[in-house]
Symmetry: C2
Subunit: 209 residues, 2 copies
DNA sequence: TACTTTGGACTGACCGGTCAGTCCAAAGAG
DNA sequence: CTCTTTGGACTGACCGGTCAGTCCAAAGTA
């Protein structure tokens, strides 16, 4: 049964398989050294199918980016929202977002890799897509910072934009290092280390319990 | 004199021109979408000259990486050493390293871009070079953290490796964002924002004023 | 002085291979 | 019948690497 009245159930499945295949391949080798045939092969479909589902290699990649960042921002927003709903502080919300970020990277390391690798390139065909998508992700962090400042919980001296970027960078690089160089450690472990940094117990005024 | 028989002075100059040309092109477009001919053209030499000076495109890139990271680690070490010599704390040394990092990125944005983009790729020809070079850079930060813990200035709870990675990431991403999205701001400005984070006055025990 | 030789630096046309994208006849599937 | 996929042949552009040959300043020679 499962009467699929939807015009393209199987089509969506094929696209997913292609995303899946492309993301790991491109993370490993980069966009331009990954061939369309490789992607098709790993996805278990014919090359022609790739072009039936996407108009070009570039378009496949752009949709991949959009898709991935949507997942991420949804996760982050959820994490922040849950804390806010539970009556936590803004710092708690940031902390929750760090955990959510780590969880995401844990789940989709290849996507993260690929995102970082492409983010600061200029002159690429998909630059516009990338800018939009970046703004989306960073904005979630900025919103929480802004709310914290507005409520007097965070110092007014902080620079929202730069601090958000720095926090994202902190999580990104630490997580990528975790995955690449000490993958045996637990997420909680990594989260603890970053939490310490966020809460200023590394360089902060000394006394830490 | 000026050595007539030696490998020559002009050769070194040509190599420099090629480095210069390659670093910006690869930062913009990535390694594999940058052609050897483009590099040669921008350097103002013929394609053959590239192969006279380097055995392959890959080797040119690897030497570029080594060269750049050497400059960076030297800067970082200097910064930390100066503070230590001047009787500053370890946190001061970290702060000085942040400034040195920013100065480096300010000076060589293209190299930084390219480094970040390649760092977490696997399966690349130059992976070994990259690993060595990364360890070199992060080790400088780790050393300062370790010293701080040993002297009781920093909490024993901190995870040296992860914290170092996080700090590097913080500076890297914040700086890249600075250059890409708000290049008009001053280095001092950016440094101030990161300093605040390092010293825990963002998420720290709240009341910091 | 006038010549020849040497050899390092550089050149650019060329070759062989690779790859994105096209096309199409035929086969499942709903 | 329509939508989707297959699989493979084909094209045209592009690109890494090669190589025979040019250029020239310094050294050698007489």
């Amino acid at each position: 049964m499962t009467s699929a009245r939807t015009p393209s159930r199987s089509r969506g499945a094929t696209r997913d398989k292609l995303f899946q295949a492309a993301v790991t391949l491109i993370a490993e080798q980069g966009f331009s050294s990954t061939t369309v045939e490789e992607i098709a092969e790993r996805a278990g479909v014919a090359k022609g199918t790739v072009y039936y589902n996407f108009t070009s290699k570039t378009e496949l990649f752009e949709e991949l980016l959009r898709h991935g960042v949507e997942l991420l921002t949804a996760d982050l927003r959820d994490a922040a929202g849950q804390v806010a709903g539970g009556g936590g502080t803004r710092v708690d919300a940031l902390d929750a977002m760090i955990r959510a970020g780590l969880r995401f990277i844990d789940h989709y390391p290849a996507f993260t890799q690929l995102y970082v690798a492409e983010l600061w390139r200029t002159n690429r065909a998909w630059n516009d897509t990338l800018m939009v998508v970046r703004k989306q992700a960073v904005a979630v962090v900025e919103d929480v910072l802004r709310a914290g400042v507005a409520e007097g919980e965070l110092s007014e001296d902080i620079d929202i934009q730069l601090t958000a970027a720095a926090l994202v960078g902190m999580v990104l690089v630490a997580a990528l290092d975790w995955k690449a160089f000490q993958p045996e450690r637990s997420l909680e472990d990594v989260h603890g280390a970053l939490s310490l940094l966020l809460q200023g117990r590394v360089g902060g005024r000394g006394r830490s319990r």
